[in-house]
């Protein structure tokens, strides 16, 4: 359990570091790799028509 918890924490720190790379305005090589990784694991989010509003 404790090892599992340690592993969970380590994974969270790694994922946070990867996420922070994807939040860069001018991504470098490693940042772009992080974005590719993220897109690969999450996929593209399709447009949701419920979010659309008619023009007033």
């Amino acid at each position: 359990m404790r090892f599992k918890e340690w592993l969970g924490g380590a994974k969270q720190r790694l994922m946070t570091n990867i996420a922070n790379r994807t939040f860069k305005k001018n991504p470098g090589l490693l940042d772009r790799l992080a974005i590719r990784f993220l897109r690969g694991s999450i996929g593209e989010v399709p447009h949701d028509p419920e979010l659309d509003h008619p023009e007033n």
Binding site: T22, K25, E44, L51
Partner: protein, 739 residues
């Protein structure tokens, strides 16, 4: 008025403040106007958007936006105004405030605000108040999240944020995150569920979350504390708790066990109306999960046993060892990269004598200076600074006591009321008393983006800016660790400006210039980011978000920020204040022949946040009229069918609304949406219909309806009755009648 220029449109990310969640969205502009607000381009954030957020352009460019300062020319509440310049307004406000303070003392000024809406105050309101000498700050967070933060601190020194995405078991006490309300939380729950997490929902009705839950406990409204005691009974008696954690990091376990034994499952089943076997099964599911969390819920915030129920949720987290672990409830602390509002507020400056005058702190001290300062030295020991104003909710006056003082001048007069980004008249209990209090003021100043029923009662109304018109960095008010950039996309219209600017300009006129050296929001952001060595411009050019990598079980090094240094199952703070130091369940006012239904109010609808947005056509079209929910059996007994107009009456007031008959409702319960008024009735009905359908008239704030420790009213399950109307109410628009 405007400070920095809007940024390049191609890279403009803004934090939406239409509700309290703070999703970062992308702004598109055209000819200096916000054209539309769209979802994020980062796939991890792209689902965090709802149809309120994408309506931002309809709100920000609305024809009814306030753009010039207004001065009252008619009687108070008559809604007659003249436009004046910003400089004239601020000069006159300062002069009149000085007069009130000279006559009645600094504590005669009260401020009501909502940090969710105003966003960029940077605690300059508290700084101003502390410089002036008034402790009378009230906020909607006293009913929602802020009070939970304060009570959590009493038990273990901080307010944790649930690590939902990584959890294996999520417990929702009445909370119902869905696609267009609390959207990021909804997405986190879905992600966890996809990863095998179990979800337990405790809600009187079959909510959206209950429909897909692993276990749904349809408890009677307002009985959260009893349910938690039932869970503890199972967890303790079946020895499902984390014995090592309890032994090393808690105090009061034996006394807690004794208290819990007063709540055998049969008793809890009787109180809550939930089968004992289901209570036991859910308690076991929670306690034996690899990791589990109990996210904050607005439902437990608003009950007669709220303090106990919030503490019991904290105790459940502690006993099951789910504190500060991945997938549990995680303690953030102050963000090392950003100076917190807790510091900027300068709470040290207010004297003990003035703090003691904080309204309501004598009877209901839990979230006031009186209780929270008992934690100061421990907060400093663990977190490095004495004042942790998490979610802005830890050093507040009690709203009911404040409005009572405004109305009756007891225990002392409150004669100047400043209300910013907050429709106070309809946002607290006992709306009739609030009106009485506001009518008894020498000075009311409102800072708003639209004219509201509250602003109609003001002497001065200043036009506020909106999130696309200002720079900001959100730090979630220290609830979780992370910084989110919000960039100005367009200029505010005419003389609209931020609440930061308001307090700065008022402070300079009141002789506090030295305490307010930052001229612009960007100066303030530079100051707050100084630990990073970067300016706002540098930081926001590099990142649109930064999350502090998490650390877990930090208490092993620091202990907990409580007097004992441990999780206080038996609270030394509450004990010293004269309250029961152990959690308990208290029954709310009973239903009767006259008032046979349990009413629950304060319910959020997807199209709106609190009392806002009713004038925004694209949102109002989705929800044209207020609707109560009733069970089919109750409706049949009352001779009511779908879309009938009714009056819901309690001993203090009545709400007119339509009925939706829903099989998902719990029998004997009536659900009331929050914050309805009718901007289209402005000029025709008193205060634009603020007393027709507003749920704030329903729940009394007399002692038998109030939680002892916080003074929170029992919004979840008080007695009421339904009267069918034969005719629709007069004066309603065609849209309301048809919708």
């Amino acid at each position: 008025m405007a400070s920095a220029k809007p940024t390049d449109n191609k890279n403009t990310y803004s934090v939406c403040t239409i509700c309290d969640i703070g999703c970062q969205l992308r702004a598109e502009t055209e000819d200096g106007k916000l054209k539309r607000m769209i979802a994020h381009d980062n796939p991890a954030l792209a689902r965090n958007v709802c149809y309120k957020g994408t309506a931002a352009a309809h709100i920000h460019n609305h024809v009814d936006r306030l753009t010039r300062p207004l001065k009252r020319v008619g009687e108070r509440g008559e809604d007659k105004w003249e436009e004046i310049s910003y400089e004239q307004a601020m000069d006159e406000i300062a002069e009149r405030l000085k007069k009130v303070v000279d006559q009645y003392g600094p504590e005669s000024m009260a401020v009501s605000t909502s940090g969710w809406n105003t966003q960029t105050t940077h605690s300059m309101d508290r700084r101003f108040m502390n410089a002036l000498g008034t402790p009378n700050y009230i906020s909607g967070v006293s009913l929602c999240a802020g009070n939970t933060a304060a009570v959590n601190k009493i038990t273990y020194g901080w307010f944790p944020f649930a690590d939902i995405s990584n959890s294996k078991c999520i417990v929702l006490f009445g909370h119902n995150p869905r696609k267009h309300s609390w959207t990021p939380i909804f997405n986190m729950i879905n992600a966890a569920r996809a990863n095998g997490a179990k979800v337990i929902v405790l809600d009187p009705r079959v909510s959206d979350q209950a429909e897909v839950a692993d276990l749904h406990l349809s408890l009677r409204s307002g009985t959260d504390a009893a349910m938690c005691l039932g869970w503890l009974n199972v967890i303790i008696n079946e020895e499902l708790y984390d014995k090592d954690f309890v032994a090393e990091y808690t105090v009061g376990f034996d006394e807690l066990c004794e208290r819990v034994n007063d709540y055998p499952l049969e008793r809890v089943a009787e109180i809550t109306g939930v089968d004992a076997a289901l209570i036991a099964e859910s308690a076991r599911m929670y306690a034996t999960a690899e990791s589990a969390c109990i996210p904050w819920t607005p439902i437990t915030d608003m009950q007669i046993s709220s303090t106990s129920a919030i503490r019991l949720q904290s105790i459940l987290r502690a006993l099951t060892g789910n504190i500060d672990i991945p997938g549990g409830d995680v303690f953030g602390g102050f963000d090392p990269n950003y100076i917190p509002e807790s510091k900027l507020g300068n709470h040290e400056m207010l004297s003990a004598e003035q703090k003691a005058k904080q309204l309501g702190s004598d009877a209901h001290p839990a979230y006031t200076y009186r209780a929270q300062e008992m934690l100061s030295e421990h907060t400093e020991r663990v977190y490095g600074y004495a004042y942790a104003d998490i979610v802005m909710g830890c050093y507040m006056a009690n709203p009911s006591a404040t409005f009572r003082a405004m109305a009756t001048e007891k225990p002392y007069p409150v004669k100047a009321f400043f209300v910013l980004g907050n429709n106070a008249l309809m946002s607290y209990p006992n709306q009739h008393q609030i009106l009485k209090g506001m009518m008894n003021q020498d000075l009311i100043v409102a800072h708003e983006i639209f004219m509201t029923p509250t602003a109609m009662l003001a002497d001065y109304v200043l036009p506020g800016d909106v999130f696309s018109e200002r720079n900001h960095i959100s730090d979630y008010w220290n609830w979780k660790l992370g910084l989110t950039v919000s960039q100005k996309a367009v200029e505010p219209p005419a003389e609209a400006s931020s609440t930061f600017q308001f307090w700065h300009d008022l402070a300079h006129r009141m002789g506090f210039a030295d305490l307010f050296p930052w001229q612009t929001i960007e100066d303030m952001l530079d100051h707050r980011l100084s630990p990073t060595g970067k300016t706002f411009e540098q930081f926001s050019n590099e990142n649109y978000m930064y999350i502090q990598p998490p650390e877990y079980r930090k208490y092993r090094k620091t202990g907990f920020a409580t007097p004992s240094g441990k999780v206080e199952l038996k609270s030394s703070v509450l004990g010293e204040l004269g309250f029961d130091p152990l959690p308990y369940y208290r029954e709310g006012p009973a239903v009767s022949e006259d008032y046979p239904y349990y009413v629950f109010t304060g319910v959020r609808e997807d199209a709106f946040f609190q009392t806002g947005q009713r004038q925004v056509k694209v949102l109002r079209d989705r929800m044209p009229s207020p609707k109560l929910f009733m069970h089919p059996v109750d409706a049949e007994r009352q001779g009511i069918i779908d879309h009938d107009w009714v009056k819901l009456q309690t001993e203090t007031g009545e709400v007119t609304a339509k009925v939706l008959v829903q099989g998902s409702m719990k029998q004997g319960h009536i659900r009331v949406p929050h914050g309805w008024w009718y901007p289209e009735m402005r000029g025709e009905a008193k205060l634009a219909g603020a007393f027709i359908s507003s749920d704030a008239v329903l729940c009394p704030d007399t002692p038998e309806y109030l939680d002892y420790e916080q003074g929170i009213p029992h919004f979840k399950g008080f007695p009421g009755r339904i009267v069918k109307l034969n005719e629709p109410p007069a004066g309603m628009s065609e849209q309301v009648l048809a919708g």
